[in-house]
Amino acid sequence: MLVFVLLGDRAGFAEELDGNAFFERRIRPVLIKHCYECHSAASAEIKGGLRVDSRDAIRKGGESGPAVVPGKVGASLLVKAVRRESFEMPPDIKLPDAVIADLVRWIELGAPDPRDHPPSAAEAAELSWNIVFEERKSWWSLQPPRDVSPPPTEDAGWSRDPVDRFVLAGLREAGLSPAPTADAATLARRLSFVLTGLPPTPDQFTDFVGRFRDDPDRAVATFTDELLASPHFGERIARHWMDVVRYGDTYGYEWDNPAKGAWRYRDYLIRAFNADVGFDQMVLEQLAGDLLASPRIDDESCRNESLVGTMFYHLGEHRHGDSLEFNGIHQEMIDNKINAFSKTFLATTVACARCHDHKLDAVAQRDYYALAGVFMTPRWTTRVVDTPQRTQNAIARLKTLRGEMHALLLERWKSAAAKFQDEITADIKDRHETWRKAFAAKETPSNEDPAYPGIRLETLEDDTQVAKLWGEMADAWRTARETRLADKAKKFNVVTDFSTPDLPAGWTMHGDGMRHGYVRDGTPLVALTGDAIVRRLLPRGYHTHALSSRLPGSLRTPRLQRLGASSMSVALAGREWSGHITLVENAFQAEKVFFLDRTEPQWQRFDMFMKYPDWRVRTEFATSDLNPNFPPRTGKTTVGDLVLPPRDLGDGKRSWFSITGVVTHEGNETPQDTLDGFATLYLGDPPQTRAEARRRIGDWLAGAVRRWADDTPQAGDVALINWLLAHDLLPNRIADDAALGRLVADYRAVEATLESARTVISMDERDIEPVSYRLNIRGNIDDLGDPVPRDFLQVFAGQHDVNKSPGSGRLELATFLIRPDHPLTARVYVNRVWGWVFGQGLVSTPNDFGRLGRPPSHPELLDYIARTFVIDGWSTKRLIRRLVLSHTFRQAGRVTDRARNVDPDNRLLGHYPTRRLEAEAIRDAMLAVSGRLDLTLFGPSIDPPRPKEDEAKRLFSGPVDGNGRRTIYTRITLMEPPKLLAVFNQPSPKISTGRRDVTNAPSQALTLLNDAFITGQAEYWGAALVRRPDDSIEQRIGAMFLTALGRPADDHEMRLWRDAVRDFAADPGLSERELLADTRAWTRIAHVLFNTKEFLYCR
């Protein structure tokens, strides 16, 4: 039946619809949008037992009765609820009257409803989401910045820059006027703190004030350019950015393990801001620095800067262990990464969608897991950030020298071996002493030991038993060898025996130690210290120390389960904190970290986690500097009897490992030695006499040397030669060979020029199988939904190639973010910069541009500067220059009563606010004023002073004054953040901070009055002051004011502080000259000046 309805009242025109169409157009969207969350199959908990997602359900109703009774408006609880007569539904808003009228009319029409079947939970959720999504994606911050023209100039003198024109228009509209221009002293101090975080020096002040008198505009511009060119500009801006990326030097939680390379990332930021690297480039580097086709290389320092940027991901708190031990660990970590990424670059709280679609923004739960796949695909591992240029010349030279030594050794040792038979067969009494020692009796000689035949023979009293013993040994050897060979063939599948340098499929290596670490059988390992020429000959395979133990190396397996067996055995050696680490789902602080302490490769078994096919498990072999979890927690840093001291953070180790074979197998047995070396010994008939037997042994050992020298070594020969070397049976002393001695000296000299590699935690996608992350239903890690394909937020669908990437999609993601028309990237960043300059962003919630954030105070201005910033090449320096040259910036802090009423939060920028300095600026200013400041840039972080150390957690105490270095170089330990800085609101490094708290608490006063750093700086300054050749107390007070407050003292202040000098003196009766030399008085004056609000605030 057709029902005709007239809808003129709302639509403004007559529309004829049948009942179902009316339902579809007017009713269904309302139900989905406002009711489904609590009253459908998609609801976590059906409220009141009522569902409205099918015809039957809505008519049946819930606990209170039918929601809809066709034709009976009065009996339909739905109408009562939306009219808020009984229940008040929807709870958050009252529906518009027109919508209520539609519902009434629908019921009057008999509530036509085509919904025969209730939807599934997924269908209902999708329906519900689609409706809200369509609405939410029209949110202002998701639209590209508009091309706006600045309002016309009203006051040409004041508003030359378009920025001022926008601000002035806003003020005028509210009936307000800008504050007058600040005086020169205030501006000098303001510019200096905003741009460098340091107070102006008295010289800068005098200079500026002089120039300002002549030409204020030029004076401001010149001083600004000076400050922008200062290396301390980078330190200032980097610290702001470090709040956003949650910078810390450690990982907190239980052990506060070091965040490897964090300080290198801090230095990278300082360099990047100083060099004015475009923000677009910085986005690329921080998100995908490892994937750039042409990374940014600093030729002078031989550093791949782009690769350092990726440390961004690896900040924040890291839990130890992995999800196999305690499920939930990597899920919490990835949540931190998604949260930091989305707040930093998008000012959007994507992490809210871990458990459900975002309650207010256009972010679906699927978006969260699509991004989780992007970030979980790469390995989170350590990379060397040096370019090959840093080491290539030295490495080439070492190879040449080693080659020359090798050639000489071949000759020397071949001729030495020719004498073996004679040496060994001499009469027992005057027999060669070293041979005698080599065959000295052992209690249980191993049949794998090259000395075994010799030792056994030396036990014989005469020649009668020689043939018998020899026969027995030969038989035993043959049997053992055959069994072992058969075993080997049957039980072990050779993945590689390194007969070629190729790595098996899916294995990747990294670092010069690996790149130059492959050797053929019998390559000499040059001794770097001591009186020996070589340490030993290396068997074929990879040895990260083949040229130098300074070289880093790592070798990484594919997913272990892909190797297709329950066990893998690896022939491994290593020392000095090289080891292996097994990572389950990128385990962010893996605890499966073990270290090696042996020189000769031995087979070691690894479990392949076949019981856990769904977990991504991989093993990495690494020198200490390429182990992302080195050093691990203090209790785990042991091997055998060795313990890494807690204070040793593991830098600059001569760490190395060797790997000479990989097999897979079932069962727990590792491959056995197949006794190859003895093959040439037991050829032919047994000897009859001891002399003959000795000759045979001599010839056997000499044969190994001969074959090696002729470049035709057989299996086992290298082990025999190393045995000879270990027993001093081959010439290997520098003192005995001038030519080789010179080569060794050259080699050592070149090796000594190599520096330890610079490494950071970064990403690696080589040989990676991309993953899709499975949705956690309602955020429950044990309730897994379907895998969600890697992608970026739905709201940007179709605008990027993240979902088409053959890898993780990070590069495509970053590339999309820096598109000129991207609605968020530039806006979010310029808003941050605005906040750094003015104390408050145009959007006062810089980490949230969504519905939970505040709208921009000047939307058009925000768009205008975002667009011009992009057109101007994403230059931070030029953006800041523009802002600080504006008249808006130059305003005084004067507030009229009217402004206080109309605009209490100064959103309209009618004055420049007085702000307390940040913790860093307070500490730096004290150091600068006292004269203690050491302006050295860069380097490892310095421990803050602590009342008590905790070795187990590596919470060490540093110098009270931090060696005078700027605060940005203080180690930020998550577990116990630096106290002085925490008191003044340095933010917690666990989560991204867009805007710092500024609290005002008694603990700050206690700190300023009594803290050892502060009283120490007052003393330091006091001691310096009495050395000044001042003529009067006034002169000195004037100088102190200038240094500390950036202005002269006025007459009133002169009197006030002059009196205080006398009060503070050791003796009130001192003469003026004596007072000037009284350290005590000046220390106290200095201390009070440090406590003045004018010192602690910037206006």
Binding site: G853, D905, Y912, R916, N1000, A1001, L1056, T1092
Partner: protein, 484 residues
């Protein structure tokens, strides 16, 4: 009706007690209460997030909390949850059925009996083991909960859950919420004091953090040894410091006139006066040397064991701080060796649990008894809790064996402040391996504590990140069964 002030404390700075919102407002209207409290609120210097002075939502029963934090996880089956079945089945494999992600478990592990005898104590007959002979004597005061369920058997997460209601932390601690919710009764003292025994627990200082609440609600740390509080020792003699402050105030007032927001500067100036008084008040409160001999002895201040001695000092200080008007006092355990945390006995259960008990339990019992005798127990909630319990099983039974992490049914106790004494609530299975009756989450305990303090856990919120955030989030119910 105004509650009687049973403290009779003449401590300087102490404000009159507050009972309900109405009384509070009445008092505030005289100007004194409001001023006193407002002076302690460390207001954020920028607008939009300023905190407001609060008062109870309903008539409170308790006014203070002392939280005895048993860091590391004391074993429930060795303290308050007797399990004779562990004796009869000792050494038997626990089997797949007993394996749980809420404990470090595997089927091959075996049941382990308790090395201590359980006895029924007091009038109530509450079971307490011989590990705690002194606490057992106060059994009739204890409200034991045996059915707490945590989220993950890991220290860091559970510590943060216990303190902040969330395993990820980054939220205010219980003590910060109480301080924020009620304000302090003494304008010269912080609302939340942490009596620390030289030990940073897992999860770090974040356990005691005010997070997004104003910084004044952060725990103020009082060390057991040495300087009790950072920077509390004046760097100058009082007269000199006074002179410095006067000079400073004169200079600062001139600056305030030039600043765009004079009120922030003025309140910073006022902070110096508070700080000045705190320098003398805090050490005085921390000094227990003039407490009567028998009290010092009862707490164990005279113990030859250094750890016990300092723990006793901290317990005695807790009472003094409560008397002086501090709302929330927390005491950490000392770390006696290089173990992960004090009560974390993966091995040497018997020796080390006894050592921890020796250090703490006499002082805990003394504190409860001392509060009771002074009539303070009625208005002071004592919370004794670790972040987890310990597995009733072990890999292998031997003399030095221990118990591992366990969060499915662990025990805590509450005393005083409106909790019903001499009772045990909730039940674990015959092995103490899983909760079978009345499971509770720590948020339920939080809600109940707030309730007794006159605060509604759903209404005690703070607007942060665009949301009204509460301690209990979407969890928590007031467990009326525990109330007297």
């Amino acid at each position: 009706m105004r509650r009687k002030n049973s403290h009779n404390c003449t401590c300087p700075g102490r404000t009159a007690p507050v009972a309900t919102r109405r009384e509070f407002l009445g008092q505030a209207s005289t100007g004194f209460g409001m001023l006193a409290l407002a002076s302690l609120m460390a207001d954020r210097a920028y607008a939009g997030l300023s905190s407001s002075v609060r008062a109870p939502h309903h008539r409170p029963i308790a006014k203070n909390v002392i939280f005895l934090f048993m860091d590391g996880g004391p074993s429930h089956v060795d303290t308050f949850d007797p399990k004779p079945a562990l004796k009869t089945h000792e050494g038997e494999k626990i089997g797949e059925g007993a394996v749980s992600k809420r404990s470090q478990s595997s089927a091959e592990r075996v049941w382990l009996s308790s090395p201590w005898t359980f006895r029924q104590r007091g009038q109530s007959g509450l079971w307490v083991s011989d590990l705690f002979p002194n606490i057992a004597a106060s059994a009739d005061q204890l409200c034991v909960v045996r059915s707490l369920v945590g989220e993950q058997p890991l220290h860091g997460q559970q510590n943060l859950l216990l303190h902040t209601g969330r395993v990820i932390g980054a939220a205010p601690s219980l003590g910060s919420w109480v301080s924020y919710g009620l304000g302090t009764e003494n304008r010269n003292l912080p609302g939340y004091v942490l009596l620390n025994n030289d030990w940073t627990p897992n999860g770090g200082w974040e356990n005691f953090s005010s997070a997004f609440l104003p910084a004044t609600h952060e725990a103020t740390l009082l060390r057991a040894k040495g300087k009790p509080v950072d920077n509390i020792e004046p760097a100058d003699a009082p007269a000199l410091q006074r002179r410095k402050l006067d000079l400073l105030a004169a200079q600062d007032r001139r600056f305030a006139a030039k600043a765009s927001d004079a009120s922030a500067i003025e309140s910073a100036i006022r902070n110096y006066e508070t700080a000045f008084r705190m320098q003398y008040l805090v050490p005085k409160l921390a000094d227990v040397s003039r407490e009567p001999e028998h009290i010092r002895h009862m707490y164990g201040v005279d113990s030859a064991n250094e750890f016990q001695k300092y723990y006793a000092v901290q317990c005695l200080r807790a009472r003094r701080l409560i008397e002086a008007g501090v709302r929330f006092v927390e005491i950490t355990c000392p770390q006696i060796d290089n173990n992960n945390s004090p009560w974390d006995q993966h091995g040497k259960l018997k020796v080390k649990h006894e050592e921890n008990a020796m250090i703490t339990e006499q002082s805990v019992a003394a504190l409860i008894e001392d509060l009771r005798r002074r009539g303070l127990l009625d208005e002071t909630i004592v919370l004794w809790a670790g972040e987890m319990g310990r597995t009733p099983h072990t890999p292998k039974v031997h003399a030095d064996c221990g118990r591992d992490h366990h969060v499915d049914g662990y025990s805590i106790f509450l005393a005083g402040g409106g909790f019903k004494g001499g009772m045990a609530y909730g039940r674990t299975d015959e092995f103490g391996n899983v909760v079978v009756e009345h499971p509770l989450m720590i948020q339920d305990i939080h809600a109940t504590i707030l309730h007794l303090l006159g605060l509604d856990h759903e209404k005690l919120t703070y607007r942060f990140g665009g949301r009204d955030v509460s301690l209990t989030d979407v969890h928590g119910r007031v467990v009326t069964e525990l109330l007297a």
